[in-house]
Amino acid sequence: MVSRNKKRLLKIILGNLSNAILHEILAESTIAELREHYFKEAINSFEVAIKYRQKLSYKFSISNDLKSKLIRIVKSKLRQRIKNGYNNLNLNKVEIYVESLLKKIK
């Protein structure tokens, strides 16, 4: 059973990782010269996720469950935009971003 504190930490990690990925993907689809600043925002969110991952025991592995949750969250945020007419968003890239971030956070 997942303790209350662990649940709270996982929520923060998921929220910040999904925010970092969203920044990256949306920045990719906007004007090149303005995107740099937003990659920095992605790094900020990722650093918060790292900080709270370190509070979890190292025995805890970032499971497939967390990976699929993260993919679901990001895709749902992107789909909401696509449904409202947002072009150039590539859902296929989500898995790649998620895998790359989870590797760094393990």
């Binding site: 709270r8 929520k11 923060i12 929220g15 910040n16 925010n19 969203l22 920044h23 949306l26 920045a27 689809s29 906007t30 004007i31 010269e33 303005l34 937003y38 925002e41 900020n44 969110s45 918060v48 709270y52 909401q80 935009r81 409202n84 007419g85 947002y86 072009n87």
Partner: protein, 252 residues
């Protein structure tokens, strides 16, 4: 042949003395330009002046942000430098013990920033500059960029229990700045603060910065604001995408 005249009647320099000729540079006079700043404490003025002197050779330098607010509760000193910034961080830190946050930019990028980015427009709404600068503000709303700019404010709720008051206030201010910007209203810290207090309650910012507002008292109202703003942005994206579809040249 160039000639230099030395007067005959002088106390020193005997006839036949060897002399060195050197140009004496007259000290340049810096007259700072104030934009929406009515008062600055003398000690802060001296710091600003020494920064302008240090960066004298650069095209222009703007001091902005919390350093210009009355009192001494600023976090750091925000500088926008049109030119080379090398050495300035060390100069301010070693002389005054103040951290400097620098934006190194050229005048084209600066003009683009104030016209397309609400937070940049807010930063540029109040400053002291080394040289006079004219702002040509003409909001150019790129809704995809606004969507991207709003993403970080989503984290207020996720990180509510782990963030400090000032951290949360910055994210909240970001969302309200975007709102003003897309409604073509002037973006300045004062106007944004007024909007925030009108939306929540009088004295809200003080309580929020002190971090004494429980999540449950904040989240419902914030979510309502955020969702309405997000949907306003999505509508804007839809309209802009349709314009681009009808006229592909506009995307360039």
């Amino acid at each position: 042949m160039d000639q230099i005249y030395l007067s005959k009647n002088r106390k020193s320099l005997k006839v036949g003395s060897y002399v060195t000729i050197q140009e004496i540079k007259s000290p340049s006079i810096i007259n700072p330009y104030y934009h929406n700043v009515s008062y600055i404490e003398p000690i802060k003025y001296n710091i600003i002046k020494s920064i302008f002197e240090f960066l004298e050779a650069e095209e222009n330098v703007l001091v902005t942000g919390s350093f210009l607010e009355e009192g001494f509760s600023f976090e750091d000193l925000d500088l926008i430098v049109f030119g080379n910034v090398s050495g300035i961080q060390e100069f301010v830190k070693s002389n005054y013990g103040i951290d400097v946050h620098i934006i190194e930019i050229n005048s084209n990028e600066f003009n683009k920033g104030i016209n397309t980015d609400p937070l940049f427009q807010m930063i540029a709404s109040k400053f002291i500059a080394k040289n006079r600068i004219i702002l040509n503000i003409n909001n150019q709303i790129n809704y995809k960029l606004m969507d991207l700019a709003l993403v970080k404010s989503e984290l207020i709720l996720t990180n509510y229990e782990i963030s400090s008051g000032p951290e949360k206030y910055k994210l909240l201010r970001n969302a309200f700045a975007i709102k003003r910007f897309i409604e073509n209203k002037q973006v300045s810290k004062e106007f944004i603060d007024k909007d925030i207090e009108n939306y929540f309650y009088n004295g809200f910012i003080n309580d929020f910065q002190k971090n004494i507002i429980p999540l449950k008292d904040f989240q419902k109202k914030y979510k309502r604001f955020y969702e309405a703003l997000f949907s306003q942005i999505l509508d804007g994206i839809k309209k802009q995408e349709e314009i681009i579809k009808d006229n592909p040249r506009k995307s360039k």
